[in-house]
């Protein structure tokens, strides 16, 4: 196969960080090439260099063996390179149609709406998708939003498509559909760069895999040369995967009781409806369910972010549904939110400051009336070491960290107050194997110390591995509990679609 794109000795630094040190690899025409690397290895940065968002400090890019330089996304796009970004490039307030129209090339000043509309609808249908063109984007699920991004690229006839962790936001069914679409594109001779942390997927679809580590391309492997273990070993290198053991059986003491909880969302629809749940001390309770069935509302109701319409939440016997006691108890309920950047961190504050957001009043971090810079810095250093956070230069805004490292910052902060209950929403979404394993270890160790966890996840592997019990949620109601030691995947799958076990 001829080479479509060659990257040679790419280097990119940001103030105080070397994001890419020395990256070289090639993309052949018509292949699916996977980029694998830990969080912070530089994958997103590299892709941003390819799409013209970042200007590399050094290195060459050859397209069809001709040297090219992308000064802007516009130039990269015009050469047929398109990307589905991790944070979608959509305007939530605009309709699906407008979001696609704006990405089209060579459209006359006054667009022939009907004609274009038909063309777009045709493309959507060709790939077996369904999208309401007139609906505003904010109303759509994250999965559907990702399809819009893909349609944009398909309409532009891109030769090289880059997908940055596309499956992190998809249900297994949607992911399967995506792979079908990718296979079809490959047949048409398009090249695809695929980024994912899910080994099973990588094995399934990659023709070649390039491994990136600490800003360097380590090696490229042809299909047949790699298996899951080899890839994991190469990616992690000398870093050890943390080891942990499931904690001992939990006690029978109830720490949290939810009775007939109902929560309505902004649009007045019921997110939770007559939902009941019991959590025991030291237990890891997995909540299985397809995203959008009330998981977020559950987490928000427990952590005081959503208003409860009816029902009760009892913590160690005390009613905390609405009472003031609740706000004081909130200190005992830690939360790992789904949307990390929006509610998990204060993006423009530094790492040090983000780590004490919940405990800045504590005497430890104060010096009389003032903050104690030294104590705050020291605390940060401890956490960076303990949680293996790859931090940038001290004092830079935390939003500059890669997604996985932001997640570690949140976890480090939430656990620092030794909570009674941890409510974790998709805590390992988008994390590399090492980091995901680390999160599991932290939760399991916490359970050993008596912390109870509500682990909300779509990933059945994760739930099986770490939960003591699994509760299944469907349309805002509890379908039932199962024991991961005995229940089959099929059984849980059926319950996730609402079937109550006999």
């Amino acid at each position: 196969m001829p080479n479509l794109l060659q990257l040679q000795h790419i280097r990119k630094t940001f103030p105080g960080v070397v994001a890419l040190d020395e990256v070289s690899f090639t993309i052949a025409a018509g292949e699916i090439h996977t980029l694998l690397g830990e969080n912070g290895a530089g994958k997103s940065t590299l892709m941003n260099v390819l799409t013209g968002f970042y200007a590399p400090d050094q290195g060459n890019i050859l397209l069809d063996d001709q040297p090219v330089r992308f000064a802007s996304p516009r130039e990269s796009l015009s050469q047929g390179i398109g990307m589905v970004y991790q944070h979608f490039m959509l305007v939530p307030a605009h309709s699906v149609l407008e979001n696609i129209l704006v990405a089209l090339q060579n459209v006359p000043l006054l667009f022939p709406r009907r004609q274009l509309r038909e063309k777009i609808a045709q493309t959507i249908a060709d790939f077996g998708l369904e999208l309401d063109l007139d609906s505003p984007v904010w109303k759509l699920s994250i999965g559907a939003q990702q399809w819009i991004e893909l349609i944009k690229l398909l309409m532009r006839d891109c030769r090289l498509l880059i997908l940055d962790e596309p499956t992190a936001v998809l249900t297994p069914q949607e992911a399967a559909k995506l792979f079908k679409v990718l296979a079809k594109l490959k047949q048409q001779g398009k090249s695809i760069i695929f980024i994912s942390h899910k080994m099973r997927e990588v094995m399934e679809i990659s023709d070649r895999v390039t491994i990136l580590k600490k800003g360097r391309s380590v090696t490229t492997l042809e299909s047949g040369e790699f298996d899951q273990n080899r890839l994991a070993a190469l990616m992690i290198g000398n870093d050890r995967i943390p080891e942990w053991q499931k904690s001992l059986p939990f006690s029978d003491e109830l720490v949290l009781e939810i009775e007939n909880l109902a929560v309505r969302n902004d649009r007045g629809l019921a997110d939770l409806d007559n939902f009941s749940l019991q959590l025991k001390k030291g237990e890891i309770l997995g909540i299985a369910g397809i995203a959008g069935n009330g998981q977020k509302a559950l987490a928000e109701a427990l952590t005081g972010l959503a208003r409860v319409d009816s029902g009760k939440v009892l913590a160690a016997g005390a009613d905390i549904t609405r009472s003031c006691a609740r706000s004081s108890y909130i200190a005992g309920i830690a939360h790992i939110p789904e949307d990390r950047k929006a509610i998990g961190i204060a993006p423009d504050l530094s790492l040090d400051e983000n780590l004490i957001l919940k405990s800045f009043r504590s005497a430890r971090f104060r010096n009389g009336f003032f903050q104690s810079r030294r104590a705050i810095r020291q605390n940060a250093q401890e956490k960076i070491e303990q949680f293996a956070i790859k931090a940038g230069p001290s004092g830079s805004p935390v939003r500059l960290l890669s997604g996985g490292n932001i997640q570690k910052v949140i976890i480090a902060r939430e656990l620092s107050e030794r909570p009674q209950v941890l409510v974790a929403l998709y805590p390992t979404r988008g994390l590399d194997i090492g980091s995901a394993e680390y999160v599991h270890k932290v939760i399991a160790e916490g359970a050993g110390d008596g912390m109870s966890t509500i682990l909300i996840s779509e990933d059945l592997d994760e739930l099986y591995k770490i939960s003591d019990r699994i509760a299944v949620i469907f349309r805002g109601q509890l379908v039932g509990y199962v024991d991961p030691a005995t229940a089959s995947r099929e059984q849980i799958g059926l319950m996730m679609s609402g079937e109550v076990p006999a």
Binding site: Y54, Y85, V102
Partner: protein, 306 residues
Amino acid sequence: MLEILLDATVRAGTPILFATLGAIINERAGIINLGIEGLMLIGALSGFAATFASGSLFLGVVAAFVAAFIAGSIHALICVQLRGNQIVSGLALTLFGVGITALFGRGLVGQTIEGFERHAVPLLAQLPLVGKAFFNQDWLIYFSFLLVIAIWFFLYHSRWGLNLRTVGENPTAADACGIPVNLYRFLAVACGSGFVGIGGAYLSLVYTPMWIENMTAGRGWIAVALVIFASWSSFRALGGAYLFGGVTAMQLRFQAMGTTVSVHILQMLPYIFTIVVLVISTLRLQKGASQQPGNLGLPYDREDRK
């Protein structure tokens, strides 16, 4: 009586209408412009000076547009290219406008010119009640009608308009689609400022055809508030500007009738009205009816982490 009041409403509302439309174009690109008051003054003085020197009202309008376009370009340079603070830059522009017009306008105080004449639109001017007020007016007022429609059409039916809205909502997304974000922002700020300048010129060429120091008397600030009231829509801007014009016309009427209420209180009415409008429209914003461009007030840096 009602006809006269309506007529006065349209005339008092037109300068604010131009200014509000200009501000909307700025904000649709994501740039806040608090320099509206200064830009109106710059437009008013340049328009008056050009007409006074050349005798041509048309040249006056062009001069107002060009002068405000140039002054707006300073704001654009600071906010778009240099990614400076938009609030500070806008306030500085207003102070600059007030100062420079006072300085260069000294020689023109007391001079007069022949303002725009009325031209009746055939048929339409015969409509009962509204005919005279809306269709027996001067060219600038007709131009403002046209501009309201043109802006709406541009924003919602042209490719450039869609690009502009995308730039204001999410510049990163616009960039990823290949839209030159900075160019759009720059032109939107500069052209928007130009229209604000025409609003100022309406004061000095038509409303009171002469130059008076600080003759805008806070109308620019009212336009800034009306942008929110209008939810960034040109048609609602028309409504908002005429509401303000109506209150102004009425208070002038009361003054003419010689009420016992203090003139100062009467003159306050349009401004009090603006505050009330702002409170109401802000309440509405909070209820989620927001049309505010998603990235309003934020500078765009391509290399910043997304």
